[in-house]
Symmetry: C5
Subunit: 104 residues, 5 copies
Amino acid sequence: MIFARVVGTVVSTNKDEKLVGKKLLLVQPVEIDGTVKGNPLVSIDAVGAGEGELVLLVQGSSARQTSITEGHPVDCTICAIVDYIEKGGKTVFEKAKDTAYSVK
Amino acid sequence: MIFARVVGTVVSTNKDEKLVGKKLLLVQPVEIDGTVKGNPLVSIDAVGAGEGELVLLVQGSSARQTSITEGHPVDCTICAIVDYIEKGGKTVFEKAKDTAYSVK
Amino acid sequence: MIFARVVGTVVSTNKDEKLVGKKLLLVQPVEIDGTVKGNPLVSIDAVGAGEGELVLLVQGSSARQTSITEGHPVDCTICAIVDYIEKGGKTVFEKAKDTAYSVK
Amino acid sequence: MIFARVVGTVVSTNKDEKLVGKKLLLVQPVEIDGTVKGNPLVSIDAVGAGEGELVLLVQGSSARQTSITEGHPVDCTICAIVDYIEKGGKTVFEKAKDTAYSVK
Amino acid sequence: MIFARVVGTVVSTNKDEKLVGKKLLLVQPVEIDGTVKGNPLVSIDAVGAGEGELVLLVQGSSARQTSITEGHPVDCTICAIVDYIEKGGKTVFEKAKDTAYSVK
């Protein structure tokens, strides 16, 4: 899984029938220190993530292993909202102190 | 899923039997601001996309999860036509105002 | 799917039992304008492609969705021979006029 | 499979139901000589790896082929802890002499 | 499939139960002319390849389509040992004359 920020939404009225009723979120892959990494992706959300939150993306066929995405034409799903990241014994990310959190 | 523009078509009379009758579209991956990103791909269309439209591509095994592509040798499918993209609370793409829309 | 040229063959007497009797083709991914892109891959052929021809490669699990490759340890299959490519209303590739066609 | 170091943990209280009770490890892909390669990933652990250990990551749908990850929305799993690497007849990595081992 | 050289072995006593008894080979992706390409991977061997041999790697879910790897947490399998490569009508690799063959 990789880290990403929820940065927006994508609206589509003409989409595959299995995607009807699914919210499409715009997600920006990021490094742990917050640096943007590559271009935004479009993801389905399995956990109720909000804009600005740091999340984990699961990709490929594994993106279809949630109850929300099973059997759907989806290759990217938000499977977790990150609370803390510990690296080398130190807390390098803490959601409550996330300065980048209020994106809007 | 990633963003792409429909930029043309690919004609093949000699193709796998499961692809017979399927239209092959030439799609150019793009960034949200319209910048071209990488080389064109060839995609099956599950939603009736037209040339110039901004669409979402689903790739890998997930490209086979539509009623049109199930069980087919297809690793890239157009699963949605984009109407709006909102990023950071602002509309950054709107199909009705899409200046790049009339490609032909 | 991506574009590639058939540029040769790979001979192997010691290969997985499911690959016995399958021809292994050397294929070079290319851009639409003919520019070489990355290193050659080895592909199974589902459509009887000949050396020099511009073809479409399907990759990953989707490469196993032809009658020739089903259940095989194959991650790259030629699924179509390209006759024409139209981009922005213009024909940018035509097999009959393909100057790169007689590779040998 | 690729080489990675276990460098930390990721805590998430809001995650897909199938991930509840699974430990999420922060893993840094590395080259054999220890050089960092790309950004950290988040992985499930199938073998009880500890921080600092050199491990093998299996990715994609294959990451779901362990008894711990079967059917889960997981695209990266630690499937082995590396004891030795031999290259060209020489031992180029030995866990007991791993100077990078005590990360904390 | 891609080309690689078998360059060594990886020893692991603590690995997923399905990998017990499987030999883990260190393989270096290469170009046809022998140039090293990217970092080494770790692969399962379905054909009895020896150190120094030029082989074909099958990746992703297709790596699990051999009798040796079916259902295993494996994303890279050696599926063939290369005898000859012909490109543009010329033999560009011949195992019997492979000067890089005696790596040890």
